[in-house]
């Protein structure tokens, strides 16, 4: 069945004509053309489709489009101000925390949510926050280093 979903994506009001069976992931990628959010396992195990719904990280593949009516969604396309990188993105590049890049959008969103909630996380807290984001390239060490560095950068930017 056709349906119209009205919600906010990356700070802008959007309206999407969708099928009731569409997940948020399909809504974002296929209806709105926001292909930065990646489809990995489609059942909530890999976290590559992580986006923030009303500030909380969720797997976009486990949400029907209709469920986000009226919600605020943040995707990888919206984490940085135009023409700059978010400190988490910059740190992932600097520390080699990305190889094939497929998990990166999800990792960035999980890290952004963590650092908003907890600006000075421990290694354990970082690892817990990204436990739902599977990376098969880097082995997580560099990702954890990058998120730690981004936390420091964000702290300094606030001072």
């Amino acid at each position: 069945m056709k349906t119209v979903v009205t919600f906010e994506v990356n700070g802008e009001p959007r309206e999407a004509l969708a099928d009731t069976r569409d997940t948020l992931l399909e809504l974002l990628r296929d209806r709105l053309g926001l292909t930065g959010t990646k489809e990995g396992c489609s059942n909530g195990n890999c976290g590559s489709c992580t986006v923030l719904v009303d500030g909380e990280p969720v797997c976009a593949c486990l949400v029907f489009g209709g469920e986000v009516e009226g919600a605020k969604v943040l995707t990888i396309e919206g984490v940085a101000a135009s023409n700059t990188m978010h400190p988490v993105q910059a740190a992932l590049i600097k520390y080699g925390g990305t190889q094939c890049g497929f998990c990166t959008s999800g990792i960035v969103l999980s890290a952004v949510a963590l650092l908003r909630r907890n600006p000075q996380p421990t290694d354990h807290e970082i690892r817990h926050a990204i436990a739902g984001n599977i990376c098969r390239c880097t082995g997580y060490g560099k990702i954890v280093e990058a998120i730690k560095a981004a936390a420091v950068d964000l702290q300094e930017a606030r001072l």
């Binding site: 069945m1 997940t23 059942n43 976290g47 797997c59 593949c61 486990l62 469920e67 009516e69 436990a131």
Partner: protein, 290 residues
């Protein structure tokens, strides 16, 4: 998945109306239901989203000092309630073993109960703590123990048209403690090969007056180890007592062998985990056990 109607009612009365005629499924977090529908493991022509119904989305104090948790309340939201988190640290910790933060931000406690998986991590302590399920249907409201909701893997005792509205926990009594542990090959994002939850109550002299042990992933539904419970009552906590009760629990388990673990391995895990959770309860109550 064939054509799907999606509804987002705002009252319980509307939900019950939409369930008329079957083939409808209730949607709380969707972390189990959505993959089940997409992979064809369950079918539905209608999903009824429960997240806009105030009664199903509130965490409230009960009149007796217990808690009433709306069936669609997410594990994430439950953890943000600091009074609940302090009072039910062990139960909350068991729920926080479910999936990742992404999952916990959608998945509900009510969904963990109604998905009726034998491995449901939040269920052992819910039933040890004496939680009841408030169910509304065409016939009105009824209350049953949470232990009576799951009938078989993926199947509940709720009939067509009924909705789990809330999980109700009685007030925490003094001199009681609870703990849950599971075993998984990976620390996160895994499903229990076996799990054990325990709750004990001591009298003023330090003897166990009541005890509950509930086992996950070793029977078609979460299983009370009733003989192990009996073995504990009347004695003071001790290492020997816990080892004995844990071995009784292992005999009571009815595990299958599958890709995650063999029957023997699961029984062994039940003994180890039961002993550990009993020791955690005793330690929490200040018992020095030798």
């Amino acid at each position: 998945m064939l054509e799907l109607h999606y509804n987002r009612p705002t009252t319980l009365r509307d939900v019950v109306g939409l369930l008329d005629g079957g083939a409808a499924r209730l949607l709380a977090g969707g972390t189990d239901l959505i993959p089940q529908l997409r992979e064809g493991r369950r079918s539905a022509s209608r999903v009824v989203d429960l997240k806009r119904i105030p009664e199903l989305n509130a965490v409230e104090r009960g009149p007796d000092g217990g808690w009433r948790i709306g069936a669609a309340v997410t594990i994430g939201k439950l953890g943000q309630n600091s009074a609940f988190a302090i009072e039910h640290r062990a139960l909350l910790a068991s729920a926080q073993l479910i999936g990742s933060l992404q999952i916990q931000n959608r998945a509900s406690l009510g969904g963990n109960v109604c998905n009726a998986a034998p491995s449901a991590d939040a269920v052992p302590l819910l039933i040890c703590l004496g939680a009841t399920a408030e169910i509304v249907g065409p016939g009105g409201r009824r209350i049953i123990p949470v232990a009576s909701v799951a009938m078989a893997p993926g199947r509940t005792s709720l009939v067509d048209g009924e909705v789990l509205v809330a999980l109700v926990l009685p007030a925490v009594r003094p001199r009681t403690a609870a703990a849950y542990e599971r075993f998984t090959p990976r620390r996160e994002m895994d499903i229990a090969i076996a799990g054990a939850g325990a709750w004990i109550e001591l009298d003023a002299a330090g003897a166990i007056v009541d005890a509950k042990i509930a086992l996950a992933s070793v029977a078609p539904t979460t299983l009370f180890a009733t003989q192990a419970q009996q073995a504990l009552i009347g004695s003071k906590p001790s290492s020997a007592l816990f080892t004995e009760a844990a071995s009784v629990a292992a005999r009571e388990a009815r595990p299958i062998s599958d890709t995650r673990g063999s029957e023997d391995y699961r029984r062994h895990l039940v003994a180890v985990l039961s002993r550990r959770v009993l020791a955690t309860c005793a330690a929490e109550l200040g018992c020095k056990i030798e």
